[in-house]
Amino acid sequence: MIWMTWRQFRTPALATGTLLLALLGGLALTWSEVTQLARETGYTGCQGDACRAAGEAFLQALQPGWASEFHIAAIGALYLLPALVGIFWGAPLVARELESGTYRMVFSQSVSRGRWLLVKLAAGCGAAALGAGLLSLVLTEWAQPIDGASADRMNPLVFAARGIVPVGYATLAFVVGVATGLLLRRTLAAMAVTLLVVISLQIAAPFVVRPWLAQPVTTVSPLHFDGDFGISMSPDTGRMTVHVEPDRRGDWIVSSTTITSTGAEFTGPADMTQCGPRASGGREACQRWLGEQNLSLKVSYVPGSKFWDLQWREFGVLFALTVALSLFSLWWVRRRLV
């Protein structure tokens, strides 16, 4: 069964492997560029407050080179990989056998259906995990100075392209492909549905699943309006909202709202004589007026120190879904298929 699995799987596996190798090669070639720039700009080995400035300089210096291109490409690849694995590895795995009728040939060999699917699932999941894991591992190591300087690895976009989470997405996408192929029995339809499911998962994760998994901390602190802030208001109704960027470097800000002393979100109404186009006092007057409103900033955030904790939790959920879907597929192929 292992030979047969390899014989049928080798073309898509080698194609995906080649793409991954190209990316890994790019990362390997730019590795020295990253470490050298980090050293030259003084980011490597920096102390205390100097780090922030050195980090900015390092990121600036990195911008024009190949390194940042490969960084974006590698992140893009880790987002694309689950969709590719689901569509081209998973969806045709059973669907094509059902479509072309070859399932009748392979099921009349001396191998049970359950074992047939089990070996294929194991091989596909293993290959998907290996590919995604290798790329993510190399990228996480490669980008360590960048993540340190930008303090951005909790950013939802970066988070799913670091650590072990990509492994979870790749394996889940593969099993999603297999299960849809098994249920729909049509390769093309299974591919389309798989793409839809994988993309929905990738969108739902940062908005719904991750905040729920991370259990963000909520803090309320008085607002002083001496730093940067943004105002949007309607001059007719006086409705106004205030946006303040919380100073939480390295944390993931899930939500941030300006609230009044009662705890409700601040929506105005604004004093039209102090703020807005008809006010004469300019920005300072509006700033002073806002300062007198007794406003606070309510921030819901996940501390950056919980990076690996959250990685393991999200991976755990994805892994559990993969196992559940695999068991369902095995049951289906034995009991319900044809």
């Binding site: 069964m1 292992i2 030979w3 047969m4 014989r7 049928q8 072309s100 009728g101 070859t102 009748r104 040939m105 392979v106 099921f107 009349s108 060999q109 001396s110 191998v111 049970s112 259906r113 074992r115 047939w116 009991r335 044809v338």
Partner: protein, 293 residues
Amino acid sequence: MTSALIADGLTKRYGRRSALKDCTLDIPAGHVVGLVGPNGAGKSTLLQLACGLLDPTAGRIEVLGARPVSGSPQVGFVAQDTPVYAGLTVADHLRMGAHLNPSWDAALAKRRIDQVGLDPAQKAGKLSGGQRAQLALTVAAAKRPNLLLLDEPVAALDPLARRNFLQGLMELTAEQGMSIVMSSHLVADLERVCDHLIVLVASRVRVAGDVDDLLATHHRLVGRRRDTADLGAGRALVEQSHTEVQSTLVVRSTAPIVDPSWQVDRLDLEDIVLAYMSGATGDGPDRVLEGQR
């Protein structure tokens, strides 16, 4: 006589549509059995139930004394339209067979591939229909099953490919001595290789028996028109047709018919099968003969 396949009240439904309904039959082992019937009689469904590709909705099926499961080393199956992996070469198919079957007979597979002139390096997707059928038969036979099920393997082949395929099948039975059940809606194909015949119409066995017996006990009677209610003991009416002056009957009778008022002719196998198939459509099931097993 041991049985290769026993079905008892076997039913397979897809939603409301019945592909096989309350089928009861007993196929003896050690024969090359032809399963013949019109399209939609349930032949394919029966064979797929027998190799475990399908699960019955109701009833019981036993193959070589056990409930069929797919992946059994005892049962080989060549599906309708003889599916093969288009992307794999002929040699790959043999390697697949060797990897997936503990009882694989590599020498037999190699010999058959040479015999039918298949190029091992050729992709199976590029084979002609006849070559594909030969490849599928080779893979199924080299597994060395005790029972080989063939579902209309020659339906899509031209006459020459058909003859070659049946020739290969006969060689296999002579060498290996495996039981074979082969379905077809063409009697001529079966006549060449089968020694036992089952006529299945609308999930019912119309007649079953050894080919020699069937040939010996069926007669066509032609005489002046008359009522056919009393044919006498040991005789059963299979089919009748009447004109103004003349009656033509197909009768099954164990004893020879000596009646000067009838002109008695022998029937060939195709005539017998056709008589059962057409006789079955007009008449009620009470007129149907159960074959002697």
